[in-house]
Symmetry: C2
Subunit: 121 residues, 2 copies
């Protein structure tokens, strides 16, 4: 068994790009991804899956068509499948995302913010 202990702080120190998720672990056919976010993302949805956001450090807003939620460090939210959402952050926020392998960050929407998938750190 070659699996290693994964330290979030150490992993975050290894990249700086915003809106570019890095895979840190797999559980069955799901992936755990770390992402640094700042500014505004694009409206999108994931038609086939829920998506979990956990704030590791900072403040993350997730806009929905009917409301906006705010997540602080130590808080999580499950965005249901098929629900349009737009993450934003007024200053850099460190987030962990959990979702099935293969999910693209911009979901159903092509964008200049569409990140390469399955990039590990």
């Amino acid at each position: 068994m070659k699996h290693d202990v994964i330290n979030f702080t150490e992993k975050f120190a290894k990249f700086s790009e915003h809106w570019s998720p890095r895979v840190i672990a797999e559980m069955n056919d799901y992936q755990f991804k770390l992402v640094k976010v700042s500014g505004e993302f694009v409206w999108h949805e994931h038609p086939d899956t829920d998506e979990v956001f956990i704030v590791i450090a900072g403040t993350l807003n997730i806009e929905f068509r009917d409301r906006t939620i705010t997540l602080q460090t130590g808080e999580m939210f499950v965005v249901p499948k098929g629900v349009e959402h737009k993450p934003t952050a007024t200053s850099e926020c460190k987030v962990m995302i959990i979702e099935p392998k293969g999910v693209v960050n911009t979901g159903d929407v092509g964008s200049e913010l569409t990140a390469q998938n399955d990039v590990w750190v």
Copy 2:
């Protein structure tokens, strides 16, 4: 969409029992569970699924037949399916577990530590 923001500290304040996981969220057919652990658990395995441990606060040891790992706050580990393991903690540790809905805490082993499943907090 009735989902709420989930705050780990607030959820942990709502129960005190050790080795008794409480569900805080579902993502597709997976569950996120919080558990307070202290002392020694039992050797067991989950033959059909990987299992993720994330330490929210404290120090968690996971013994395997060939080594023992130690997780601190802000660290995670994926226990591969079918691998025997035994969590221990010398003082109370707060942990988040992620695994498919229906997984029993003691896996393939019946024990006085087998917890009721699917209890939410």
